[in-house]
Amino acid sequence: MLGAHAIDVGPVGMLAINIALLSLVGWALLRAERGLPDGREWTLLALLAIFGIFGRVLLEPLPNIQPVTVLVLVVGMQMGAKRAIALATVIALGSNLIMGHGIWTLYQALGWSLVGCLGAYAAPHLTSMPRIAGIAALSGVLFGWVISLSILHTLGPAMLPAYILAGIPYDMLHALGNLFFAAWLASPLAEMMERHQTVHLEATENVPVTA
């Protein structure tokens, strides 16, 4: 064998490749969305699910930084809790088929679903970018606490406070990542979703996002 693919690019090189791939996926999905007629809500959700799965898998080298939480939050805000829960569950399961599926998938789906519900519930108040960014950052911490509940199956409740305390740096990274994704993605995502909404929200009004 020639070993033509035996190139050691290192962790930074691999991360750069992954970010390039994610940019390519994002660009291709954006082009696909632009080609859709208005009102294709579930098709848009499918494209967002693909972006969420790829985003989580490709950004795995970065600790707890991925676009899924902000995606689910914005879907909750714009399309309602039911669609956010569906998206959260599909992304959790789809990404874990690559990254590893187990009982944690249930808690991840639950955590992201709660973020989506929070987005739907708080939508009337999320009228400016700083508010959305703030709730996105808070969602990172909320998600981390929900995920931490999975240790109840193995270590028991006595270890839960220590486990949550030890995970605070990771929660902070998640919060900062969400701040970044909210600042860059929330407005374009919200505009995209407005264009494709056919049925309006169960509990909240459609709220445009302004910078």
Binding site: L173, L176, F180, A183, W184
Partner: protein, 208 residues
């Protein structure tokens, strides 16, 4: 820790600068991107500092690391227990825990005695090599004076403490630095001791 505070001040200062430099539409984008890059770069350091700050002592009699910080589980450790009043002045207030990079991150003031443990070590196979490296990490406060003979390496003093300064030494009685390996008295001297990946060495003065 000072390195951590320096990084925090630098990050906040630059974030404020970016905030006021950019237009109002791009402020959040610019600052969030900068903060994310800084967080990713400094994540290993921050995680390590946080782990040290939140570390707790292991309470498990059956564990060779019992009484040591939980972040050292599975790692190699060297402990020196000094007689009362004989510790180096830096260790006089209890038992100090010093990580592999020389950071003195925890002091157990309720420890019955004084001393220091250097831990978080890995990859050592011979006890003597790990002991000498641990003394280097403690920046000389645990300096070892030893002699060699046909019986192997003999530890004379650790941290300047000679056992005979605290116990009567004569032809019929004496005191020495006694070595324990994973909570058991070592049957061989430090020069012949073969380590495992989570070895805990403990030195304490005993009499004969």
């Amino acid at each position: 820790m000072s390195q951590f505070y320096g990084l925090a001040i630098f990050t906040v200062s630059l974030a404020v600068l970016i905030w006021f430099t950019l237009s109002s539409d791009n402020r959040l984008k610019g600052v969030s991107a900068f903060l994310l890059v800084m967080a990713v770069i400094s994540a290993p350091t921050l995680n390590q500092e946080w782990a040290r700050m939140t570390s707790e002592l292991i309470d498990d009699e059956g564990n060779s690391h019992n009484g040591l910080p939980d972040i050292w589980l599975g790692k190699q450790v060297v402990c020196v227990d000094f007689p009362v009043g004989a510790a180096h002045s830096d260790y006089a207030d209890g038992r100090h825990y010093i990580d592999y990079d020389g950071t003195d991150f925890m002091t157990e003031t309720e420890f019955n005695g004084t001393g220091a443990c250097v831990g978080g070590l890995s990859g050592y196979e011979d006890g003597f090599g790990m002991l000498l490296n641990a003394t280097d990490i403690a920046e000389g406060d645990l300096e070892v004076v030893y002699s060699t003979s046909q019986y192997g390496v003999m530890i004379e003093t650790i941290g300047g403490v000679d056992p005979c300064d605290y116990h009567t030494c004569s032809s019929t009685q004496g005191a020495y630095w006694s070595l324990y390996h994973n909570n058991a008295w070592s049957m061989v001297g430090i020069g012949d001791l073969v380590l495992v990946e989570d070895s805990v060495l403990e030195w304490k003065i005993e009499t004969w």
